[in-house]
Amino acid sequence: MLNPYQGLPAGRRRLLGVAAVAAVLLLWAALSGSGAVTPNKLPPPWDVAHALVELSWRSDPAGGGSSPLLLATLASLRRVALAGLLVIALGVPVGIAMGASPPVDAALSPLVDPFRSAPIVAVQPILVMWLGIDEAMKIAFLFLGAVVYLVPMVRDAIRAVPSSYYVSAIDIGATPFEAVRHALVPMALPRIADAIIVSVSVMWTYITVAEYINADTGLGQLIQNAKRFSAMNQVFAGIIVIIALALVTYFTLVAIRNRLFSWEATQ
């Protein structure tokens, strides 16, 4: 049993995973259903399920209806997507420049590295002062939270490419720029993709914080609102949706990455 190199059959692996989730659900149901923990601290799973249904579709007395959950999800997705595009557009080139050029790295490292362990949440009031309380602030916050992870990872991805690729490109006539462009960057792309995936995950963890201030819509706002009305089942429902979205984006991005860089598994 204690042999990390002995693989587990896929079926057994899945079974153990499902069993663990089921055990937690059972424990949760037992604790809240028996009345051992009050519903305003831990709502029973069926209450949360009910909240999910209720938030998914709210009918209108006039005949129509709307889905607060869908609207909130779309708003949050839009913010993560916009901030993600910014992170990639600005962070990847900066990371590549730092990885490829020691002087650029020496100049930018002191500006980037400390922020990996800095409390980004504490920066939010500053962003409010600078950018106000609207969309720009929220997207800037998500961007900052993720880019400080992305840049050093992209730099390390470039540095991890064996020097022989750079040297041999130079030897067959590449300029240093061409050697970086045609030898280092393509070789680093799988790890750069990993950095992007991590950054997107980080953004999902920050989404509620980003949407706390002046929240008009979004999953963070939905949770915040539910908390205000002590609707714990809705708080739980919101958290579950965020986790689900984070997982879906994670697995989608991993699938795209593995498809694009299938050669990497052979290295």
């Binding site: 040297v167 041999s168 030897d171």
Partner: protein
């Protein structure tokens, strides 16, 4: 220069590389002075032949080779003193007369064999010199020459070590270099594959004559391939012997076991022992 004239020049293989009083020193890691690697090397290479630079491992052969390519990947100025001229022109930086092939073939794992051979044509230097249709034709010709035309679509991980080294060799020769610099290119291959690659190199050299400077620490390889063998001592390296081998290639195993060849082998080993000795050489027959 148009492709036609450069082709004509490379067919003749005319080239002259002149090294005079080459000294190379590298600063010591602890900052207490310098290590002398090369100690006054004079060498004139004037014909499109295969010149073997033979010496113990770590004696400065690769440094000498890189100098001829004008490449200094580690940022230290080379040479410390002395001059290198190519066709009478001082060589002070990277130039496109020479192309290098290493033991590490550095084929891009995401590209096919054909794309790897065509790789240099992505660089501005070769884009300016060779038009796309000529480049494409050269790539196909070179794939056939190294026997990889039916592997053109495969990726490096689908090829053996020897086949990957063929890709690297094709990628260098597709540029029709006047000088081909090879740094122990077959050092990591098994005996049989090394044998095949040596045979291939001899054939390609006959088809496209150019000056090949081939660094090795393998005495047998030097005797098998070289028109000329230049023996370097352990560092700081000096030239301790320099002789021609008249025997035509391909050289048979019978010749390699002949008295003449054995004498050459002994002569090389004696020189290396006399020059004193750190570093290793290999004799593989």
């Amino acid at each position: 220069m148009s492709d036609a004239t450069s082709d004509a020049a490379s067919e003749r293989g005319d080239v002259s590389v002149d090294l005079k009083a080459i000294v190379q020193e590298y600063p010591k890691a602890d900052g207490t002075g310098v290590n002398r690697i090369l100690d006054g090397v004079d060498l004139a290479l004037t014909r499109p032949e295969i010149v073997m630079l033979l010496g113990p491992s770590g004696c400065g052969k690769s440094t000498l080779l890189r100098m001829m390519g004008g490449v200094r990947p580690h940022g230290v100025a080379t040479p410390t003193s002395g001059t290198i001229t190519i066709d009478g022109v001082p060589c002070t930086g990277a130039h496109d007369d020479a192309v290098m092939v290493f033991q590490r073939y550095a084929n891009r794992p995401d590209l096919s064999t054909r794309e790897n051979v065509a790789f240099p044509f992505r660089f501005g230097l070769w884009k300016r010199k060779v038009d796309p249709s000529t480049a494409a034709k050269r790539v196909e010709d070179m794939l056939a020459a190294v026997g990889l035309q039916d592997k053109a679509k495969l990726k490096p991980h689908q090829l053996s070590g020897g086949q990957n080294q063929r890709v690297a060799l094709a990628r260098a020769l597709v540029l029709r270099p006047r000088i081909l610099l090879m740094d122990e290119p077959f050092g990591a291959l098994d005996a049989q594959t090394r044998d095949e690659m040596q045979t291939l190199l001899v054939r390609l050299h006959e088809e496209h004559p150019c000056l090949v400077v081939f660094v090795t620490h393998d005495v047998t390889e030097a005797l098998r391939l070289g028109d000329r063998v230049v023996v370097l001592s352990a560092g700081p390296a000096r030239i301790v012997d320099d002789f021609a081998i008249e025997e035509p290639r391909p050289r048979s195993t019978a010749w390699q076991r002949s008295t003449g060849a054995t004498r050459l082998e002994e002569r090389i080993l004696n020189h290396l022992h006399a020059a004193g000795g750190r570093g290793q050489v290999r004799v593989s027959v």
